[in-house]
Amino acid sequence: MHAIEVSGLRKAYGNLEAVREVDFAIEEGEVFGLLGPNGAGKTTTVEILEGYRKRDAGEVRVLGHDPARPGPDFRERIGVVLQQSQMWPNLTVRETHAIFAGYYRAPRDVDEVVALVGLRDKANERVKTLSGGQKRRLDLGIALVGDPDLVFLDEPTTGFDPQARRAAWEMIRSLRSLGKTVLLTTHYLDEAEQLSDRVAVMREGRIVRVGTPAELTTTDLQTEIRYRQNGEEVLVRTDEPTRVLAELTSAAVARGEELEGLQVRRPSLEEVYLALTAEEEQG
């Protein structure tokens, strides 16, 4: 069963084609990462799925609803963390959660959610006293308090220090264990690699690659073999690492030499991403 199905999605703002022909599907219970540089069309795509924007063309199903004409049940079942939002500064963390809980038919227990996002010690503090990372956790808490089936996270850790980011990652992993479907947009590759079951890379309004992080790193770029010979760094890129490595090592063994500093590495997702999203030279 698909939580989200998108085919032939298009959206233009005047002459700017923000999204051109986007297709993908997200399984229920999957954490799906949408990657891409600024202006690639990530936020436009997500805002169409959330029901904020009308599409120009294409088919979109989110939890069985058309988000452009959602039934009354649609907003009961989604949770949204916007890229930027600041809640009422003078309410406490708990009060803010309670206000949002009141919008849903079957909300989760407020104190439970406050604890889940790691704000139990701050429950009775005013929102304006929270740090940036804590405010982001508040955003996540109010997205979860309605007990949604599908959670949209738009760059949820931007501006976090490394420790806060690790904590947020743990929280997002716990969403998966709760059986939630998560659509995560991010421009942090390590984040996408750590959290996502599958990633889609967007560029200029199109999805240029979809797959698990492992698939993307094995199929897209050649494996790199590095060693030093006579003090000089040698780099071999190959699609057949096993054969090349066997040749190199057997030749070295035959000569009685050691291949100094021998390294075999797969490209990181970051390198794949940079290759996929690199600007083409304008001729």
């Binding site: 904020y52 916007l82 600041q86 079957a106």
Partner: protein
């Protein structure tokens, strides 16, 4: 929790959501010290101040009574126009309005509860003005309470429509208070909130004659100072209706839920 869980599959009654949101709005309003001071308390302070310096009569009635009516007018514009506009701009630019759109709270319920919450604040302020006037200056309570209530509701509706309209035009949260007060304070002076305008130059009075606040204060004067029923003032009501309708139409075309793109 379990009572809630049993209701799964049924639509939540709209009235429950409205009451929940109204309570939330009241909590948000009173928790903010700035809002509670500038919107609720400030007109009361002005009344105490002005009624202690004015002697004699304004428009042929004791000064405190005329000032009481004038400050109901100022309070109305301050609460429903200025206060509402500033709150809406801040919420829009902070992404709160956008965020609420992703919840099951219907936009109409949200707007309705925000307007009723604003009306509650203004009504409490009006009651406080009458109590203060009675205690400090011996001003009478209104003789026709029903007409005064009607006038207060009409005024709040007209200025709320203008408040949402101006909120649609203001671009940044930082500038919202300055823009709104640059309109509110001159309007209040020209409309006679703080005393008679009879000695003003003719052109200033001419400006005042097109502003909605002058007609709202006229209406309150007629009801409170002269004991007329609210429906005996068709000219005031007509001008207020035109301003209110203009604000509403402008809002319908220009109101945005989302912050400006960064």
């Amino acid at each position: 929790m379990s009572a809630e869980a049993i209701r799964v599959g049924m639509r939540r009654p709209a009235r429950g959501l409205f009451v929940h949101q109204l309570r939330s709005e009241q909590l948000v309003f009173w928790r903010s010290r700035e809002a509670a001071f500038f919107i609720f308390l400030f007109p009361l302070l002005l009344f105490v101040l002005l009624s202690s310096v004015y002697d004699g009569k304004i428009y042929g009635v004791p000064a405190p009574e005329a000032l009481l009516a004038g400050l109901i007018g100022y309070g109305c514009a301050n609460t429903a126009f200025a206060g509402l506009a500033i709150q809406l701009v801040i919420r829009r630019e902070n992404g709160i309005l956008k965020r609420l759109r992703a919840t099951p709270l219907p936009p109409a319920t949200y707007i309705a509860s925000l307007l009723v919450s604003t009306l509650i604040v203004f009504a409490m302020q009006t009651v406080a003005l009458f109590l203060l006037g009675r205690a400090l200056n011996g001003t009478p309570f209104p003789s026709d309470v029903a007409s005064l209530v009607a006038a207060v509701v009409i005024g709040a509706a007209v200025f709320a429509a203008l408040g949402t309209a101006i909120a649609s035009v203001i671009r940044s949260a930082e500038g919202s208070s300055a823009v709104v007060n640059a309109i509110l304070l001159p309007m209040a002076f020209l409309s006679g909130s703080f005393g008679s305008t009879l000695h003003y130059p003719a052109f200033l009075r001419a400006v005042g004659d097109v502003l909605p606040l002058k007609y709202f204060i006229d209406l309150v004067n007629a009801v409170y100072l002269h004991g007329h029923g609210v429906w005996t003032q068709p000219q005031d009501l007509a001008v207020l209706a035109v301003w209110g309708a203009a604000g509403l139409v402008f809002t319908m075309f220009r109101f945005r839920w989302e912050p400006r793109e960064p």
